[in-house]
Every structure is written in structure tokens, then in C-alpha cells.
């Protein structure tokens, strides 16, 4: 099912991610991400915190089609997202992904039954399951999104050299695999958080002038 994995991971998949920076826009404005090395540190931090947590939730969602269990995972996502602004973003991106996933796998009962407004990692795991992918693949999708979205956003905002960014992403790739593995094999749902990303999420939400939705 590698082709289905690539379809879901493709930045061209129409699920709304292109308009979100994953905190990179706020980090650029705060002066904490200014160049390729500082972006690499930002991505690394993101991967091991919210990336790990999202991957654990997505993997768990990929293991079940039971609406009650998915609702529990939705609540678990809510509890792991302290920022109200980022909770709203997660629900909105969940809606957008659900629309695309239902178009891709229209016969999947689990996707059909998922309430609109379910948190993004839960929809991502359900979409992966509907596409015939394993929980490990769902975790890989989540860590890929956790890193590639903000990387592209920073590239646009700072006019970075795309080849230097490729070098960063290739260097991080083995770590993405490790985090996905850890998330998919965890006996308890991960709850790693990044307080600064929560603060960025809240702060960014109040801005009048912004290029990205979050």
C-alpha cells in the first residue's frame, strides 16, 4: 500500500495543510527561527513533542473503526492540546482532511461515521486505516506532516535556500522513523507537549496581519 501512503503524504493532497505553518510563522516573527540551523532546531523540537503525540494518536486511531474508541481518542487529543486556538485549528484541519479522505475512500464506513470536526490526528489515523495502511504508517504520516508543513512555511517566509532545507529534512529522516516507531509501539498514548508552540498558537491567533491560518 505504498502508493496510498504517498497519496496521503503528498503536499498536493487537498486537505488544507498548505495554509498552516505549525507555529513557524510565529517563531519567525519572534526571531527564534531566522535561518536554516535555527529552523532545524525548531523542527527537531516539534518532531519530538507535538509530532510524537500526534503520531501516537494517529496510530491508535488507525487501529480501530469503533466510533466509541475514536471519540475517546478525540477527547485524548483535546486533552493534549492546551491552546484553544490550536484546538480549533486541529478541528478545522480535521474537517478538511475528512472531506478529502471521504472522496478518496467513499465506501469506508469508519470515515463516513466520523463526526465533522473530529481532531486532525484522529481523522488522519482513520484515513490511513481506510486506505489500507497500518498504524505504523499512520504514525509516519503524522510525523511527516509535523515537520514538512512548518519547513515549507519557513521556506516561504524567510526565502531560504530550498536545497539547504532538503539537506535538513534528509538529515532528520531517520529521526522521523524513530519517532513514528516509538509512537506506534507505545503502550500508553504519548502526551509530549511544547509549551512555546502553545503560546505561539495563542499569540498568532490574535494577529491582524498573517500569511498563514496558524
Amino acid at each position: 500500500m505504498t502508493a496510498a501512503l504517498l497519496l496521503l503524504a503528498d503536499g498536493r493532497f487537498p486537505a488544507g495543510g498548505h495554509a498552516h505553518s505549525g507555529g513557524a510563522a510565529a517563531a519567525v516573527a519572534a526571531g527564534t527561527v531566522t535561518d536554516v540551523p535555527s529552523l532545524e532546531r525548531f523542527l527537531l523540537g516539534r518532531l519530538h513533542t507535538v509530532g510524537l503525540t500526534a503520531a501516537g494518536l494517529a496510530a491508535a486511531a488507525a487501529r480501530t473503526a469503533d466510533p466509541a474508541e475514536l471519540a475517546e481518542l478525540d477527547r485524548a487529543t483535546e486533552a493534549r492540546t492546551p491552546s484553544a486556538a490550536l484546538r480549533a485549528v486541529s478541528r478545522r484541519l480535521g474537517r478538511q482532511l475528512l472531506r478529502a479522505a471521504r472522496a478518496g475512500w467513499p465506501a469506508d464506513a469508519g470515515l463516513a461515521a466520523l463526526p465533522a470536526g473530529t481532531h486532525h490526528p484522529v481523522v488522519l489515523g482513520t484515513a490511513a486505516r481506510a486506505a489500507g495502511l497500518t498504524d505504523r504508517r499512520a504514525a509516519e504520516l503524522a510525523v511527516h506532516e509535523a515537520v514538512s508543513g512548518p519547513a515549507t512555511a519557513a521556506l516561504r517566509l524567510l526565502g531560504l535556500d530550498p536545497y539547504q532545507l532538503v539537506a535538513v529534512l534528509a538529515r532528520l529522516a531517520p529521526q522521523l522513523d524513530l519517532v513514528a516507531e516509538r509512537a506506534a509501539t507505545a503502550t500508553r498514548l504519548p502526551a509530549a507537549s511544547a509549551p512555546l508552540l502553545d503560546l505561539y498558537g495563542e499569540r498568532y491567533d490574535s494577529w491582524k496581519v498573517k500569511l498563514f491560518a496558524s
Partner: protein, 223 residues
Amino acid sequence: MHRDHIADESGAPVVSAAPPGPRRALRIGLGGPVGSGKTATVAALCRALRAELSLGVVTNDIYTTEDAEFLLRHAVLAPERITAVATGCCPHTAIRDDISANLEAVEELEAKAGPLDLVLVESGGDNLTATFSRGLVDAQIFVIDVAGGDKIPRKGGPGVTSADLLVINKTDLAELVGADLAVMARDATAQRGERPFVFTSLAAPDGVAPVTAWVRERLAGWG
């Protein structure tokens, strides 16, 4: 209501953006370069049509809610009828390749202020290649202006050649910028064949009238 709850006979969800049934609002997209007069056209259309139609507007600013605020400030519609979408530096992506945020916005407007007759989706200012997906809008208007140079119709591009209506705005500035309207008309016809174009000057009283007339025709055909 959100159409993604609708199921077909087999129980599969229907997610197509095609009209699901009797009445959803006609959706018209407005694209074109920065400063050509998209927001002014939207505002003028709202003023011309709001007495007889239930309207909604979705704006896609490049980096702010300025266009939405312009419409609010000029009170062309009630606030609950206007919403803004952020596009992450890529206004064309949000109207063409990944329309999910705009579809959400349109459906939320219809749920909040509906039922609506007409939703105008205004793109962020972009280049001559930016066109709307048919999954997002039923018809599209491309707005260029005389002051941008009288060679723009000749340059073509998907916006100029394929939009359902080409609006060439700011004709009142033609003399000041040395633009030849006859050249623009000739090139627009050459690029567009049978597809219509109109000249407008929104500075004139009811200057939007040619666009309003075209929108009314689309509405008449919408049922």
C-alpha cells in the same frame, strides 16, 4: 448544512462539490492581479444586488483580513455574511489545487446566514494564471485593469483566456496612462473567442452595471 453528511443509495457519503439538489447558492469566483479592483467590484455587486438577493462573500486575502474589513467598513453586507480565509502565501492554491478551506468557508456561511442565493468568492490578488477550481465555483470573473497596461489581454494566461467573464476595469484612467481601449478589446476578443468581456469604470455611478447584468444572467440560469 454540510453536504458531507449526505449519503447516496449505497450509504456512501457524497462529497462531490456538484450541486446536491434543489437549492444551494450560486457560487461566483472573482480573480485577478493585485489592485485591479476585485474588492471594489464585489462591494459594488453587493450594493447592486443586496436588496433583491440573499448574498454571502468569502475573501482570500494574501496576508490579512483587509478585504473583508473593507467590505465591513463600507457596510455592503452584514458581518455574518462576510468571512475571510488565510491562504499561507499561496492564494492560487486555495482557489484551485486545495479548495478545502474555501469550501468550508462557503458552507459555514450558508449554514450561518443561509439560505443564500449568491456567494461571491474573492481570490487574493495573484498572477495571470490564477483560476478557480470548478469544484469551488460555478462561474468565474477575472478582473484586470487598464492601468496595469493595455498589453495584459494580449499576454493571455488562463485567467484572461478561460474565465467566464473578463472585466477590464478603470477605463476612466485610460487616457491618463496612455492605454488604448480598442487594442485591449481587440486582444481580449482574440484571446477569448466567444467568451464575453466588459469594460467598467467603478468610479462612475453604477459603473458595475455590465457585471451585474452578467451575474443576473448566471442567476437566471441557476434556477
